[in-house]
Symmetry: C2
Subunit: 405 residues, 2 copies
């Protein structure tokens, strides 16, 4: 039995609770023995910490699905199946996806709203997101509020204030989006906002394809093209949060106009608008029409396939400067660029070979994200969970169960 945790808050215990919950959140079911070994704590300390987290409804102990074997069954500590959830939001030009996500990164329910023909204002989008919370609650059969709301935005973000600096493809500038959302939420819950590529990379670095990478870049292709960077194992945001704007590297100053105000930016060659134009498809981009182009390319339709290959070549060339500069071990291509890699890997790799210096070029593995198009959504869930993970004691106790010795 542990003491009543709220009565005697203790920095070390809170820290250790955070470590145990973090392990289970990241890696799923773990035995007590694994936790003991990973954290270098005694068995009895791990036992007490697990009991405490169980009391709080954050983890549960269970027999793995393999069933009991000879001898004492090896119970595992797993995220609680009815534990707290967050609302994660992937806000993009073509859609707003909201999801209820449980500890361990499990998507419990999702709701997708395609964007209208005109860009919506920050106020409209905030209202729309808040309106989906009861829908998600109904889908998962819960009426307790989320512990936090995390939002992925295709633009620069001041993470501390949740302000969107520039989101050119949404037409937003200095939008206090986090504040808008926080004011609309009832009951009030914490709101955190991040850049889509940064969050996608966070999800992949936490438990996806970038998990053990020290130097990795995530390039996300949508209407705009953003990138997240991890350098020396640490997210790189730059001097004032604008690092990773590879989408606005100018390929040809006499090229197509870009939402940023310049001409011929890389995203005008590899973004979704470029893909549709090259494939002779109607604008504006929607998730459906983009999917149709990739399906057609896979079916061998020449216009679609050529469009994908052309994008692949421009992408390889654009990536070369990233690879020369950062020498990453892996480059993850998400969003539409993930499909481009899947369909036209040879064209992409050839262009990268042609334009990158040999040594860094050979080190860089091109990969699809482990979480497909959900990377940014799951990254938004990650930042929403960080509040709970950093201090599980501060969270309300949801389930009061018997402690297990």
């Amino acid at each position: 039995m542990v003491d009543s945790p709220a009565a005697r808050p203790d920095a070390i215990r809170r820290h250790n609770l955070s470590l145990v919950l973090g392990q289970v959140h990241r890696d799923g079911a773990l035995t007590r023995a694994e936790l003991t070994q990973r954290l270098g704590l005694s068995r009895s300390t791990i036992g007490a910490l697990v009991s405490d987290l169980t009391d709080r409804g954050l983890v549960e102990e269970r027999v793995p699905s393999g069933g009991p074997r000879a001898g004492r069954p090896s119970h595992v500590v797993a995220p609680h199946s009815h534990g707290p959830y967050v609302v994660a939001v992937d806000l993009d030009v073509t859609h707003v996806t909201t999801a209820a996500v449980g500890i361990g990164g499990t998507v419990l329910a999702r709701h997708v709203v395609p964007a209208g023909p005109e860009p919506a204002s920050p106020e409209e989008v905030a209202r729309q997101i808040i309106a989906t919370v009861p829908i998600l609650q109904a889908l998962i059969g819960r009426n307790d509020p989320p512990v936090a709301i995390g939002v992925s935005v295709p633009g620069t973000v001041d993470r501390h204030w949740g302000t969107v600096g520039v989101a050119p493809n949404l037409g937003w500038r200095n939008a206090p989006f986090g504040k808008l959302l926080a004011e609309l939420a009832t009951p009030r819950v914490p709101v955190v906002v991040g850049n889509d590529a940064d969050l996608a990379l966070l999800a992949e670095h936490s438990r996806g394809i970038a998990r053990d990478c020290e130097n990795v870049v995530y390039l996300i292709g949508r209407v705009g093209v953003g990138s997240g960077i991890i350098a020396n194992g640490i997210p790189l945001h730059g001097h004032d949060g604008h690092a990773g704007e590879i989408g606005h590297n100018v390929v040809d100053a006499s090229g197509p106009p870009c939402h940023c105000g310049k001409h011929g930016c890389l995203e005008t060659y590899i973004g979704e608008i470029a893909l549709l134009t090259l494939a002779g498809r109607p604008q504006p981009p929607s998730d459906e029409v983009i999917r149709e182009v990739f399906d057609a390319a896979r079916d061998g339709e020449q216009a679609a396939l050529n469009a994908v290959k052309t994008v692949a070549e421009s992408l390889g060339r654009g990536l070369a400067s990233v690879v020369n500069m950062l020498n990453p071990e892996r480059v993850i291509l998400g969003g539409s660029l993930s499909e481009v890699l899947d369909i036209a890997r040879p064209e992409l790799e050839n262009a990268l070979d042609r334009y990158a210096l040999d040594a860094p070029g050979q080190s860089a593995q091109l990969a699809q994200p482990s979480f497909g198009s959900d990377s940014a959504l799951l990254g938004a869930a990650e930042i929403a969970f960080q509040i709970l993970l950093s201090d599980p004691v501060a969270a309300p106790i949801l389930v009061k169960s018997a402690t297990m010795g």
Copy 2:
């Protein structure tokens, strides 16, 4: 009095000696009171550490040049004027500069050998460097050996082994240069080798214009163009040491051939060969002919001035992708690019404005290095001193003086 240090090595004391020596090495003369405050150690501990370092001939206490004032004179702890020295080498295509550098980064003597018309082999250059050690010793009136030799090389370097991976403008590939030097040195001294731009940035980050920068890029222009990056306050070398190869970003695949085997790399537009070609000057580049072009440009000679402005525009455009990617607070331009900045700052800044995204572009200050063309040389001295700085006890005691209470 401190105990004989060799008899009872003590990890904490060694660590503290390293800290005190590091402060004096970086910042020059400091009072005991300043050292006490900076390091959070007691006055008596600082006194004992300073005495120990004085005994070892590493620091000396003296009255500042202002002379004694009323009351007790405020002695300062300064690098010992006859303390150990390193041999620093700036090896470039056009010259090999060797220097004897004292603690605190003072260049005590230097020796410059212009390169011959044909690139020299690693063996030839190693022999030449070792031959300059007695010349430097004669110039500074010493016959004790350097504590280490540090070498700056215009190419990729495996810092651990001192192997030069690729130095395209020297025509070197997988050259065990550090090993060659170490084998030739009598008596044997440690040899450390680093990339020129990384070392130039190290010097500027230690005590120059990049001192308080967390995100900074140093672009060095010579025959080749290299760059060093500090991201999140840490040097960025990438997955296998090839980060910073911006000089090989392809500007135009149908452009001039580059030593790397590709065509139209940025360095073929902004390196010294490009400058001479644009200015109608004879090849190959030498320090003299490069200086003449910049002098002529300053004097208003149209061909030279236009050449510098054209390089400035290409540089601004090339920098844009670096700035978009890394969002640095400062970009230091060294070597010939420092002169380009000095002469054609408006053209350079206009090109950067035109090609970089607004927000990161506005954050990036363009600056000349504090140490001018000596940045790489002083960075080479820094890595050579790191052995002594990390453990002053391991160095031989050179001067035995009375300890000061």
